[in-house]
Amino acid sequence: MSKRHVTAIVNGDPVEFLCTPEQTLLDVLRDELDLTGSKECCSSGDCGACSVTLDGRLVCSCLVLGAEVEGKRIETIEGVAKGDELHPLQQKFLDHAALQCGICTPGILVAAKALLERNPDPSETEVRFWLAGNLCRCTGYDKIVRAVLDAAAEMRGS
């Protein structure tokens, strides 16, 4: 089986990689590009731990083939902070103790960032339904939702 050559932009940087047709974008991120921040927890799109944005659209990277991202823009958890400046969401997660084991945290941060870019003033219900594809087994979601709402408020300048 021969590999495909793919070029794409990951977190603003041009990348090139080789992948088999079966490799998912998640496989490529973790095994070819050494970006292990996106996690594989179910391989079926049911947990959201592998969340990235693809051309600005929130997706599960385990449900995208590596071959499909030719010429596309991908943003992962590793691109959420800018230099040494944390995104308000990242800071609020720390402030609110919104993570325990932390395995779901990258996916949730990517998903929450995508929400706030679309809807800067979501209600609690809107936050919960947007994040329903991101499982967390440790926190019961309470502090996560509070952190997202608090980050949204800060980003609005309230």
């Binding site: 292990t36 594989e40 179910c42 084991c101 339904f129 926190t139 979601y141 502090k143």
Partner: protein, 767 residues
């Protein structure tokens, strides 16, 4: 090390600078940026991919395994089967809060005579790519003799049931049975005279309950990377709750000396008890040893469900008698817990905890540990207790309802207090059950009016918590910063709590303390993270290590001041002179003393190696409001409050997190989580689509109240908090649903078809 009463007093009087604050978490930045490395995030050059061949049958004799074609496939570097693991004689050892038997462990890790559940490991390969590994598994020929299977305890206990272990004679029965069965053990706890107790009762309720197996549901699958060199020295990175326990098990199974294997605990993506045992680790080591290359193994999500231990399903009968005024006169329980393919369900703690929140003169509990053809159960957050306490709390609620008593008042009437003797023996010291019940009564939630089709449920819960072996080393660096090394993996933020306790004891700013979880070569034996023990036991070791460092710092100050050591005390980060002319002598800070350490005798390092005693039990009370759609049986959680004793909340944010997380798992257990088997004994819902854990939109905000009744055995009064939160939710929700629909529920999960059926039955009866 004896507890200093001054510390306990300080804890009570709240003159604390760090303990009890909500500071940032030391490992937090790495976890919000994706830097933190979990079990599957480690790689080594030349690494092979390991994959397991698993039995498709629930019960089968393994006649032969032919690996010849697979071995010949180019790219396959090693294959292991039962022939590569030495058989182990029966030997029980603790693993967390449960006991495991090496004879069973070696068989669970790699099947020997039989495959005992669908998903049971039968062989494993290490190959140069995932697709070659997959192809190699296809080429392994296993000759199975398929046998009839049993799934539930009820099926397994029938006299004609097929036997999993032909030599299993029930322990704990006098005289011992002559015939083998699937009942591994019978346990019994008794006090007083239940017959006399029931005779005094004005009302007696007897109910039977069933629960289904549920999985701990950690998001991160089991994963490890093993690297064995030609001399047989091994390194192992794995996601685990206890890397020292992993080392023990692997050394035993691979017949290696403990000093020859170094285990690194990676960050762990959830455990809840399920990562206190080994599955892939001995296999990866065996493959690496055979191939002389590093081998990485990661379970897929369906393997996690099929081949790692959920907790027991159970069948229970509870009988409670009470007087008109709500005083319980007698309690009786018969519990049968499913152990999975090998003995060792948490039936013992289940029996011990069933009536634990109450002061009972007359109680009798009998429990059975039953094997059946499903994965071997592993610990799940307060193992055994959520199941039995669910049933008891539901019956207590029914009695309260029958007597027209407020459910909190009825519990207060019978509540265990300091001095109450538990059914399993010891007398309780200071405990916080009454405080949680009083707080529940006063909480605004309890007086919030209910809407149509809504019901409110209350339940209390108990867990013992454990102490155990923990070590801590505090290296005082030359610049006055401090490195704290401990051996308990951090599941929920414990690094933060350890740093707070170290800073508090040393009297320095917590930002100068760095906490590391080190590998098995770098610190003394430390028991696993579990049993709600880390803040208590590793915290105790941390405080002891800090005090050891303080002793040395004071000794160095004494040397520098040329005074006897008894004229130096440590106060809030400084060595101070006592005695003559003390006022004229400037105190010396930790940093100053650290800078002079080399000149005063050498580097300063405090350490402690303890077996922490005196873990205080933790009680909690939950209040939950549900709304039921009577046309469909859907249950929505409208309001949830967790009130629990923490002894002393070192980092309140992470204590609240434990309360909320346990409650959320309880919601799933109560409403939708269960293992669904087909008639063929195969698991039908081995993924997150159909194994239905709560999602964000399923839950409201979960209010928490931290009650603090300090545990006198811990320097800061700490009690473990991690497990109790999962004990009350199922009963609280069952009681809420029962009251909302006017009909009692006796089965978990209370999925919509069951609730709808209960509503329809009530309507048919004119309700």
């Amino acid at each position: 090390m004896a507890t200093n009463p001054i510390d306990v007093e300080r804890a009570r009087s709240k003159q604390l600078r760090w303990v009890g604050t909500r500071g940032p978490r030391p490992d937090g930045i790495d976890k919000v940026t994706g830097r933190a490395r979990y079990g599957a995030d480690f790689n080594l050059p030349g690494m092979l991919v390991g994959r397991v061949l698993r039995s498709p049958h629930a019960h089968a004799r393994i006649r032969s395994i032919d690996i010849s074609k697979a071995t010949a496939l180019p790219g396959v570097k090693a294959i292991v089967t039962r022939d590569d693991f030495k058989d182990m004689p029966s030997e029980f050892v603790p693993a967390g809060e449960m006991m495991v038997n090496y004879r069973d462990i070696v068989r669970n890790v790699m099947a020997r005579e039989k495959a005992l559940y669908e998903g049971h490991a039968v062989a494993a390969v290490a190959a140069t790519s995932p697709s070659i590994a997959r192809e190699a598994l296809r080429l392994i020929k296993v000759d199975y003799e398929v046998l009839p299977h049993v799934i539930t305890a009820a099926e397994a206990m029938r006299p004609d049931a097929p036997l999993l272990h032909e030599d299993m004679i029930t322990m704990g029965v006098e005289p011992a049975p002559t015939k083998a069965s699937n009942v591994a053990k019978r346990v019994e706890f008794k006090t007083g005279d239940v017959k006399a107790g029931f005779a005094k009762a004005d009302v007696i309720v007897e109910r039977s309950f069933t629960t289904k197996p549920v999985h701990q549901g950690y998001l991160e699958p089991h994963a490890c990377l093993a690297n064995v060199n030609e001399a047989g020295q091994a390194e192992l990175w794995c996601t685990t709750q206890g890397h020292f326990v992993v080392r023990s098990h692997c050394a035993k199974l691979l017949e290696m000396e403990l000093s020859q294997i170094r285990v690194v605990a990676t960050e762990i993506g959830g455990g809840f008890g399920g990562k206190t045992v080994v599955y892939l680790e001995p296999v990866a080591l065996a493959l690496s040893r055979k191939s002389k290359r590093p081998v990485k193994m990661v379970m897929s999500r369906d393997e996690v469900f099929k081949a790692s231990g959920p907790t027991s399903g159970a069948h229970m009968t509870i009988k409670i008698g009470a007087r008109k005024d709500g005083t319980i006169t007698a309690g009786e329980a018969e519990l049968a817990y499913e152990a999975g393919a090998f003995q060792g369900s948490p039936i013992q703690p289940g029996c011990m905890c069933a009536f634990a929140p109450y002061e009972l003169e007359n109680a009798h509990v009998v429990g059975y540990d039953v094997v059946s053809n499903r994965p071997k159960v592993a610990a799940y957050r307060a193992p055994g207790a959520p199941i039995s306490e669910y049933a008891v709390e539901a019956v207590i609620d029914e009695i309260a309802q029958k007597l027209g008593l407020d459910p909190i008042e009825m519990r207060l009437k019978n509540a265990a207090k300091a001095g109450t003797r538990a059914l399993y023996g010891p007398k309780f010291g200071p405990i916080g059950l009454v405080e949680t019940l009083e707080a529940a009564k006063k909480h605004p939630h309890y007086s919030t009016p209910l809407g149509p089709n809504q019901g409110r449920g209350v339940a209390s819960g108990f867990w013992f918590n454990i102490g155990g072996e923990s070590c801590a080393t505090i290296n005082v660096n030359e610049d006055g910063s401090v490195t704290l090394m401990i051996g308990t993996p951090d599941i929920g933020g414990s690094r933060a709590s350890m740093a707070l306790m170290a800073a508090e004891t040393l009297g320095i700013d917590v930002s100068h303390v760095r906490t590391l979880i080190v590998d098995t070569d770098s610190i003394g034996y430390t028991f696993l993270t579990g049993g709600s023990r880390v803040t208590f036991a590793t915290g105790m070791a941390t405080v002891d290590a800090a005090k050891d460092a303080i002793r040395q710092l004071c000794a160095r100050a004494a040397k520098l001041w040329e005074v006897p050591e008894d004229q130096v005390v440590w106060d809030n980060g400084f060595a101070k002179r006592t005695g003559e002319n003390a006022a004229n002598v400037a105190p010396m800070s930790l940093a100053e003393l650290a800078a002079k350490a080399g000149k005063t005798g050498g580097p300063i390092s405090g350490h402690a190696e303890i077996n922490a005693q005196g873990a205080g039990p933790t009680f909690g009370t939950h209040v939950v409001d549900v709304e039921v759609d009577e046309a469909t049986g859907r249950v929505d959680i409208k309001r949830y409050t967790v009130i629990q004793d923490a002894g002393k909340a070192v980092h309140p944010g992470y204590v609240e997190g434990q309360y909320q997380g346990g409650a959320a798992q309880g919601v799933g257990w109560a409403l939708n989580e269960e293992y669904v088997y087909g008639a063929d004994g195969r698991l039908q819902n081995a993924g997150f689509l159909d194994y239905r854990m709560p999602v964000t939109s399923d839950l409201p905000m979960i209010d928490t109240v931290i009650v603090e009744v300090p545990n006198p055995a811990h320097p800061y009064g700490v009690r473990g908090v991690g497990e109790t939160p999962i004990v009350p939710p199922m009963a609280a929700i069952a009681n809420a649903v029962s009251r909302a629909i006017g009909s009692r529920m006796f089965e978990l999960p209370m999925s919509p078809p069951k609730v709808l059926k209960a509503v329809q039955a009530r309507k048919a009866n004119g309700g």
